[in-house]
Structures are given as C-alpha cells and as structure tokens.
Symmetry: C2
Subunit: 534 residues, 2 copies
Amino acid sequence: MDVSRPPPNGRRCGLTLGTVLASGVAAGGNRQIITHGGMRFGYPELDQRVRRLGAVLCALGVSAGTRVAMLDRDTHRYLEAYFAVPMLGAVLMTANIRLSAQQLRYTLEHSGTRLVLAAAELVPLLKEAFAGAAVIPELLVMGEDGQYDALMESADASFEFPDVDEESVATHFYTTGTTGLPKGVTYTHRQLVEHTLAVGFALAAADDYQSLRQGDVYMPLTPMFHVHAWGMPYIATLLGLKQVYPGRYDALTLPGLIATERVTFSHCVPTVLQMVLDEAERQGQSLHGWKVMVGGSAMAPALARRAMKSGLQPFAGYGMSETCPVLCFARTNAQEASAYPERLCRVGHPVPLVQLQIEGEDRQPDATEGELVARASWLTQAYFDDPTGSGRLWEGGHLHTGDVATIDMDGAVRIVDRLKDVIKSGGEWVSSLDLEAKLREHPAVDEAAVIGIPDAKWGERPWAFVKLAAAAPLSAAEAEAALRELLQSHVAQGLLPRFAIPERIEFVDELPKTSVGKLDKKRLRLWTSEGDMT
Amino acid sequence: MDVSRPPPNGRRCGLTLGTVLASGVAAGGNRQIITHGGMRFGYPELDQRVRRLGAVLCALGVSAGTRVAMLDRDTHRYLEAYFAVPMLGAVLMTANIRLSAQQLRYTLEHSGTRLVLAAAELVPLLKEAFAGAAVIPELLVMGEDGQYDALMESADASFEFPDVDEESVATHFYTTGTTGLPKGVTYTHRQLVEHTLAVGFALAAADDYQSLRQGDVYMPLTPMFHVHAWGMPYIATLLGLKQVYPGRYDALTLPGLIATERVTFSHCVPTVLQMVLDEAERQGQSLHGWKVMVGGSAMAPALARRAMKSGLQPFAGYGMSETCPVLCFARTNAQEASAYPERLCRVGHPVPLVQLQIEGEDRQPDATEGELVARASWLTQAYFDDPTGSGRLWEGGHLHTGDVATIDMDGAVRIVDRLKDVIKSGGEWVSSLDLEAKLREHPAVDEAAVIGIPDAKWGERPWAFVKLAAAAPLSAAEAEAALRELLQSHVAQGLLPRFAIPERIEFVDELPKTSVGKLDKKRLRLWTSEGDMT
C-alpha cells in the first residue's frame, strides 16, 4: 500500500479553482470587489455572482470542455468568468482584444470557441472579425442592452457546480510570437492553483517593499486577457483582498482611482507605469506606498528611480505566457532599493519550486551567460495542437524562455536580452536591452529601441531608434551628439564595450508596439529592410 | 487535447521534496542550520550533507519503498533525513521515542522498517524494544562511536538522487489514539509539498504578529518525530531561513538559546511554553518578539496573557496527525491580541484550500455546534493497513477530527472539546476545555483536567483534577473553596452554566500525560473507575 488510496467513503479533494474561490469567500468577508464606474460588492456576493454565471452558462449548454471566450476590459465580470467557466469544467478562452480582427478570428476558431461573452463596446470588433463567416460562435452581450444582466439577475444564486478534475484544462489563450501564427497556451486547474500558491507565498514572504498580504488592496494594470493578469487576481481572491478593476485603462482617471480606493499593489508593463507617473505628476496626485511589479519588458533604472522619487515601490518581475507566468521577481528592501535602484531592475530570485538555469551554447547547464531555461510543475506542457512548437519549447527537458540571462553572485537573475534580439558584433554579444536602458537615462529620451543590422564586416552592428520626449528642446543633430557623448562616457567608465556604440541613431515619432505593448522589433527590422521609417 | 500532455522531449516536474530542498538551497545562501551544542553550517553544506546521506543509504541497500526509521532528538541530522530518505523514493519512519518499548517495537514492525538510524543515547531503548526478537531491523548508530559520521564523511557530496514520483509515500508515523493500537499515517511527496505551500503562504500573508517570512529564525519545540514538527522544517527550508535545532528540550538552556540565536518563530504544546516561560522568568532572560504557535492542546487565555506580558507573541494553531497537520490558526494583530487575548486561543481561520465545516448530530453540515470536519488535498487518505479505521475517519466524505467546535461570527473556529471528552449533564453539553481554562485562571493552579463521571441522575457530572503550583500556600480545603468561589463568580456573570460546576475537585501531584505531552484523560478515567488516584 505505498500509494495513498482514496478514502473508502470519501473523494480526493483536488487543486481546483473552486477551492480557491471557497477559501477567498471564507477569508474575504465584506472586503469589496470594485469595477471603476460600475459595481461594488463583498465576497458573499462574489460567490453568488459566480454561481449565477455558472447557472447562466449551464443553461446555454456550456459543459465540460466547451470553450467560452471573454471579450472585455478589466472588470468584476471578467473575475467572475475566471472562476465560473472553469468551475463548470469548461475552458475560459481569454481573447486578446488588441489583436487585429483577422488574428482574433484565427484564435477564436483555432481554440474551438463555441460561445463569446463580449462587452457591448467590443461587439463591433467581433462582428468585423467574423464578417462573411459561415460559422459564427454564439454571442452573449454584456452591458448596454445585452441579455447578460437580465440573465444574471434571474439566475440561481445557489447553483451547485459539478466536481471538476484538477487535470482538466481551465484556461486557453494565445501568445503572439514575433514569427508565425499565434500559439495556443492552456492551463489546467492544478497548474493555476500551484502558480497561485507558489507566487502568492513568495510575494507574502518577501520584504514589505514588495509584499502582497492580508490588508493589501489589489488592482491589475496588465489586461485580464494577458496570462490571467499574471495570475494575480487568483492570488488576491484566495487571500480575500479588496480588489479594484479599472475597466479601460484611462490615464486621466487612474491616479485618482489608485488614491481614492487606496490601491497598494499592482503590476504593469513599463509603458503603463510611465503613463500613470506622467499623469499623477501633472495632476499633483500622490501615489505614495503603491507597490508595482513591472514586467513584460525590461524596466530601465531611470524609470525605477523616477517611480521611487514619487513614493512608489517598483520592482521587476519576469515570466512568459508559457510559464503561467511569474517565474521570479526582484527581492529587495526600501533601503537597498534607494541605494542600488538597478537591483530593482534585475528579475531576481525564482519563486518557490521554480528551478532556473543558464544554458550555454552547447546546451550545457550552469553557463555564466546563455539562454534562461526553467522547470516547475505548472509550466505549459505543450502548445495547443502544435507538436513542433512544443518540441522546440521543451528541447532537452527544460522550458526555453528565449531570453539570454546571467545570474549574479547573490543568485539574482539578470536578463541580458531576447535571444533573437541580442546583437553579435565582431563575434561579441551586445545587449540591446542594456543599450536601450543607457539611452533612456538621457532626460530628452522618451523611448529607445536597439536592433542589430546585418553588416558585411562585423556580422551585425547595433542601430538605435529613439523617440524624444515631447518637451525636449533639442534638434536631432544635437540629440545625437548628446547621446553619443553619454554612451562614450559609459565606454570611458568601462560600463560598455566600444563596439556597442550604435552605428546609427535614428529619431522617430513613434516606436512600433505589439498588441500587449511591447516594442515590436520585428516591425523595426522590417522598416530598416524596406527603408520605410516614417 | 483537453488534458495537458507531457512535453515531447521533457518530463513533468512533480511536487517533490527534492524541489523544496533545491528552492531552499537557492534562497538560503549562508544562513545557518544549527544543532544546539553541535554543528553549524550554511545551505550549500545542507545540500551536500543530504546528498551524502543519500549515498550512505543507497550503499546500505535503501531503495524505493524501503522504510527507514529515525530515532533522534531535534537535530540537523533529522532535517537531513527529512529530505534524503524520501528523495531516494524510500519512506522516512519518524519513530516516537516517547512510546513504551513495546509500542515502539509494534510501530517499527507494523511499518515494515528495515533500517533504523538511532542516536547513540537512544540505542538502549531500541535494544529493549527488540529484546529476544527473531528479526531485528538493521541499525546505524549516530554520534558516540557510531559508524554514521565516518560513513557520512567518506560519502559522495555530489550524489545524484533518482527521479521520484510525487505520489510516492515520503513519511510514515504512528498516532497513539486513546483506544486500541497506534494507527499508521503516511504522506506522499505531493501532500507534504502542498501543505508546505499552503501553510507557508498563510503564515507569510498573516499579520506581523504571527508571520513567518524571510528574515525569521526558526526553531521547533514540538519533536521532529511528531507530524514532521508540524511540517514547519519544510517551510523554513523552502524559504531558506536560519534554523536552530535544540536537541533534547532542556528547560535550563532553552531561554538562552532562543536569545543567543535570535529565534523569532517556534511552535509547541502549552506545557512546553509554560516551562520555557517559567525558566526565562527565573533567569531574567527576555524572550521579546518570539512568535509561538501553540497547539496540540488548547492554550488557556491565562497562559496567553502571561506569555504576552513577557513580550511573546503566542497564538493558537490546530490540526492533527491525519491532517499533515496544520488546518487553521488564530489570525490577529498585536493590538487585538492585547485587547482580546481570548481571540489568540481560538484556532482561527483555515489555511488556503482547507475547507472546514461543523457537522451536526444528524451528520448535516453547517450546524452551529458539532464535530469539526475537514477537506483539503493533502489530508491522510487512509490509515496504513487499517480499512476500518480509515472508513470511520472519512465517513460521509469529510475527514472527522473528533473535536467539537463552533464557528464565530467572524469565521474563526473555536474548539469546544474533544468529542469523547465533552460532558453531557442533564442533557446539556459541558465543555471540559472551558472548565479547565477557567480553573487555571486561579494563580494557585498549575494544571487542571476535567472529565465526565457517570451519574445515575444526570447522565454525567464533571469532576476536576487540579495540580497546585509548587509555591501555592493553600491547603486542599482552602484551594477547593477558592476555586468554587471563582467558578461561582463565572456563573454569576453568566459565563458558565450552573450545572457545569464540578461535582468534585480533586488535588493531585501530577496529571497523567500521553507520549506527546497531552493530558491523558483515558488514564484519568481509569484512575476514577479503579479508585486509584495516587
């Protein structure tokens, strides 16, 4: 009898999202779930609303395995769907509303979506996507004349969900790589619960500077369709925290919302952090004590310093769609952060039970610089219906992040570059991320992107693309001279190799971005090869 | 493709104790693991020592499923065995050194133990247990002339452990109920890791008053053979904390050890807390800032108040051998604790993913007072080789704790009594725990036990057994009068029903205790029925 048996008269209680919600309802009491400009209710009502949604979906024929897509901004409705759909044994397809209509249709069709819950304002996008299609998923409109509210109101608030196996798929979404079609990623109940426990534990056990604990107020600032808003709504719900959902991200109202609702913990990409900082400064609104995990792209030390000056507690986090997503985050305290702000920009130490290694070019582990590879029980085991992509992802038994990293003496991980963005000049590696961070140190620079351009002599040479700050009083020639001087001073201090100085520095009005707000270097490279840089 | 597939070229990474150790080694750096009066080393050496032990055991023929018993005090060696034995796929049998020689032999034989690692001082106990036996487990003596140290020294510090399935049994021990033979309880890797994550998360996310986080210093004060010291060494190791192992619990040295090593977090039964407080007071040693989870028996408010007066942060925890063990603990903060010390004595709110319910006499859930039942994925699924006991444990699909509880308005659980200790007088329930706590409020009382005695008229009547404090200047008659007056005042205030006043109050020199230091009411009842109370 070496393997534990199910109890003779009982049933094994698995790691399911239903148990996460039950714990949150037991812990949360009347702490509020809020949608900006919309509803506001406590955990007992969250429980009832999830049950109502379960009843509504059940009546619409949703059952085990059915794909139900959500097209919405960050709202309490999305949070309810995070639980209700998987608790039916169905699969929540978190559709990316920033994709083109064509890509959106591809992802809905590829996932086999049967029912779409769409906010009224997003219905036109859906209609465009399926214009002329023979088969269209069923649609339930939320808000403005939609049937959703009426159905919810008349639904059974004590609906009982079925028992769901912890290994059933709970969520399904698409990651838009820089090449090829979007790739489908799925997570089981068990994977989501393990991520919730491990990341929640790491954040709770960390220093006050970056902690998420009882008493915190949570608000996402990465979209809920993007890797379940980094899994944080599940952590916040498990702890029974007050949660604030901002709806559409509106720079004008965010600083006030954060202050009024006393938000203490968020996460976002650097661009959003910068946007909120700009607006808060303009409005004279304090954001003191706001802890922000920054990820998606590298946080430049200049941005970290500026945020700290405004009383924020920023710190880098790291992960990817295929890792659920959080693998690691910077661990520091207030004192260290103010003395060494660059440590906030390292992606830090792994969360419990995540193993990170650096793989050298020979695929040997424990190299000093090379591709970052990961293992943990909750990583994506395979892309949906894509054995070739899955094989590449897990080559050699580790998940390949596609990022080049080093590990510092204290064990903290530092991302050097995307594997495909790193520039090889004269046989030496140049980090585009590092160059971008150094360019952004100049006050006249708003954004910077560096790519490698084929070069007959050196293999590749770095080119920089810079968007100047709106208020910058410099001509392009003056700005270029100033930036070259700045980089030369880094070379003089031994902080940058001489061959890393960009071959060209171009000034642009906008840098191309992907649907999730990351720099789109693929399009930058296209610009340069096509000679079209306007 | 609804269920996630293993990666084409990878392997699913399970929830195993090996991943817990790897995370701890990555996080712990040179924080120390200390045995009082013995060794002291950092996490890299912990990793090497676990590998050495793995190599030693492997050479002794230990393989998947082999039962390896540990007979030791709380030492770094025990911590190493917590990892090395299960990481081989073998099963660590944590033998209870407080059992009688006969019971010890029963548990070693019943578990199928093949190899015993015994501290030199405990070898005589083992020899007594197996005197005259035909088959004796192999013995490896640790310390004083044992072969253990020599074997460890020459073993391979880079030994590679095999891959272990997360569903393999990792630990095996015995719980001595109040009736019948000791019952075998086992836990798989996965169950132990889930308990580690959930309980660790709950303690990390709790208020500073009872938190366990980065920066804390951990020392167990419940034996490591007792439900893996409540699973806390696994949590402390996962976080990479400094850990202090006290060896044999010696009241004289404990206060100094706590102060010198700056221990901030421990757990113990009320008796041990009282012992340490007595000695610290005698020595004038401060224990300020020491957080202590108190469980195993109910913590009386008087003890909580006294501990707080000495600068400690005591709080109740609750669980049992069959629940891995921690199910819930009191959540409070310093302000609330000093204003309402009785809230520290409630067993509080469940840890994440644990569901607790009160089952009425009709086995219906959500009664106001009744047996506490539990569900969570890491509870013991069945007793080892005991289908009848297992069936009773899980009757109706919930694990039965055997404790009567109520749930307060704020969701906190309050244990009323052991189901079998609750006294039914005139059809009404009297809580023996409540009476004991009230008796202990009198400064002359050191310990108190209350049991129900059969009564022709009332069914049962409460009898109290009191051990007076050594310094108490009262005669038995004076003490009885004082205690009756105290209880009458509770009756007058409406805090105690009149029929709860004990029929008799007996004064004794010692109260009988079980092997883990709990009041042994079974023996008390035997005393009363046999008329032998000396």
